[in-house]
Amino acid sequence: MTTTREQGSDERVRHVLEFPGGYTRSTGPVIGRFLTGLRDGRLFGVRMPDGKVLVPPTEYDPRTAAALGTADDDWVEVGPAGTVTTWTWIAEPRADHPLDRPFAWALIQPDGADTALLHAVDAGEREAMATGMRVHPTWRADRTGSIKDIAYFAPGDGPAEVPPSETDLEPVSMLTVPSRLEYRLRGGTVWNRFIDGMAVGQIRGTRCSTCGKVYVPPRGVCPADGLPATEWVDLPDTGVLTTFAVNNVPAAGAPEVPFVCGYVLLDGADIAMLVLISDVSWQEVRLGTRVKAVWVPEEERTRSVKNLKWFAPTGEPDVPFERYEEYV
């Protein structure tokens, strides 16, 4: 997950939700066998209790939930040519679509099957598409056991030539699908005002007008009352450490291990804030330690929470537990 501010943008940030390497899923025996067929350049279906053939197959009968495909005899080779049962034209393909030119999504019922699978049809133009038209798969050369081993379907009965692939491979049992979503986000007014404070080295909170509690980082709503908390409060950058953890597991973006993170109750706040604790060896960190923020030098500050580097002990006497136990 990454978020970047774009230069010259309208205050919106680009936010990417991405899982490096993609989601990995086990296929189970039925989907795995179908995907193994695709890798071999062949289409298979399974027979349902009513004798009809389900493509693409699932482990259960869509009607009765009975187990499917448990016996070899239940498997039927179908197609590879088939008939379009419905379609829709995509005039402007996305970068993650199977084709980079206009195409149709279609439900395609392979010969010998009683249900249809979804895929792209490369018809060239919309006028070439029709319900009932015949299509055949165009197989990719580098097949891995994925629905995308079929690059797309092309008009006509074929022949559907199958580029040779590696043989003697284990049956497909896993599927890895990359996924990436992009967002354009705008910070809320509360967040923006907090960040404006951080830009000048000032920690700001909000106070609930009903119960008087002060929240930091600020929130627009008091979570205890469900009512607006919109009175702004400038808070000192000093407080007490209410709890902490010594981290020994390296993580991307985190400081070098071992590092200490902890909750600091700022003087005048009613909720502890998660921060880094530094300028002290991890063996010497204690609950109740008085701490003060360490900021990046003024000339290096940006409009970012990163201006606040960490909190460090002030050397004052520890705060007795009773004074902060409500906040632990």
């Binding site: 997950m1 936010h15 939700l17 989601y23 899923r25 296929t27 989907i31 995907l35 389900l54 493509v55 693409p56 869509p62 009607r63 049962t85 419905t86 379609w87 829709t88 034209w89 995509i90 996305r94 993650d96 679509h97 199977p98 999504w105 279609a106 439900l107 395609i108 249900t115 249809a116 699978l117 979804l118 895929h119 792209a120 319900t131 994925s146 629905i147 995308k148 599927l175 699908v177 996924s179 990436r180 979503l181 992009e182 967002y183 354009r184 986000l185 705008r186 809320g188 007014t189 967040w191 929130r219 627009g220 709503v221 008091c222 979570p223 205890a224 009352d225 469900g226 009512l227 607006p228």
Partner: protein
């Protein structure tokens, strides 16, 4: 009232929705929901502490932030801890869970809310990730592509529909509803909208194994909710695409003179994850304001109307008693 004998009478006693926005105004989940929660509480005169159960519906993928639904909890005053639940679905299903919860008999009121920010993300991509992860999601067909398959199938089957669907406007918004059981409902609402039928049904997720010219799940839910037991003054249908209306009209068994989506419907505002709950709220509001005696609301989820919920709402004391223990 098929399936409703022996159930507690429960009514929608308040409904509020946001002034939906078609661009991102920087509102957080809490910003969207808080005014509505306070509005339905004010309408009923109920205090937060008098709400027995809270249930919400939303989808974290809409803004790409894990657990974004937790932020909305700020608005309901969840301290001291409350009885609360969440569905990663349209909040119409949160209302269903709340209705079931009230049937347990130990709580009399429930707050239901849903919210969605459709303007900040890529809904074609987000919807694709909610489809079959092996056979469909890798192709990224998106909600409009899937809708197009159904529109074409309906056109081919003789329906007078445009085979090229256009999506509703991307919308940010929210909605909130309060449900109350019989005695409480009468005390907080002059014209409670009694839920006299509520059911939801789902079809196989393989779109190619379904007949897209039918909506068997809508038909079954409508039958079990008792839609045809009386005249329907208004129906609010979760039609994100125009071609869905004639199909749903047929499967719900609506008469020609039943007015559909008098509110403007999802084609005018589609705050995803609240859109279905808004159908129930709008259908209830027609009873609250005295313009209808009997209304029907419908909500849907999944590709090509895969999962359908039907709710029948009625005015009058006898409607409240129909479901009484």
């Amino acid at each position: 009232m098929t399936g409703f004998h022996g159930r507690r009478g429960v009514a929608v006693v308040a409904f509020a929705q946001s002034e939906h926005s078609f661009s991102d105004l920087g509102w957080t989940e809490a910003d969207l929901v808080m005014p509505l929660v306070n509005e339905v509480l004010a309408t009923t005169g109920l205090r937060r502490s008098e709400i027995g159960f809270t249930c919400s519906g939303s989808n974290d993928y809409l803004v790409g932030t894990p657990f974004s639904f937790v932020a909305a909890l700020d608005t309901i005053g969840a301290w001291p801890p409350i009885s609360e639940s969440h569905v990663e679905q349209d909040a119409a299903w949160a209302l269903y869970e709340a209705w079931v919860r009230i049937q347990h008999g130990d709580v009399d009121t429930a707050l239901v809310y849903g919210f969605g920010k459709g303007t900040v993300g890529d809904y074609a991509g987000i919807s694709s990730l909610s489809y079959d992860p092996y056979y469909i999601a890798p192709l990224m067909p998106g909600d409009i592509g899937m809708a197009g398959l159904q529109a074409r199938a309906l056109k081919d089957a003789g329906f007078d529909v445009d085979p090229d669907p256009t999506p509703p406007p991307a919308t940010d918004g929210a909605a909130a509803v309060i449900l109350a059981a019989a005695d409480v409902a009468r005390g907080v609402c002059p014209r409670p909208a009694w839920i006299t039928g509520l059911d939801h049904r789902i079809e196989p997720h393989s779109v190619g194994a379904r007949d897209l010219t039918r909506s068997a799940s809508t038909r079954q839910a409508a039958l079990r909710a008792g839609v045809s037991a009386g005249p329907v003054d208004f129906a609010e249908l979760h039609t994100r695409f125009e071609h869905e209306e004639p199909l749903l009209r047929r499967e719900l068994g609506l008469e020609e003179d039943t007015v559909v989506n008098a509110s403007g419907g999802p084609r005018k505002a589609d705050p995803i994850m609240a859109t279905g709950l808004i159908r129930i709220g709008e259908a209830a509001a027609r009873i609250h304001d005295g313009s209808a005696r009997r209304t029907v609301a419908h909500a849907t989820a999944g590709p090509c109307l895969q999962h359908n919920l039907v709710c029948v709402l009625e005015a009058g004391e006898e409607a409240g008693e129909a479901g009484e223990d």
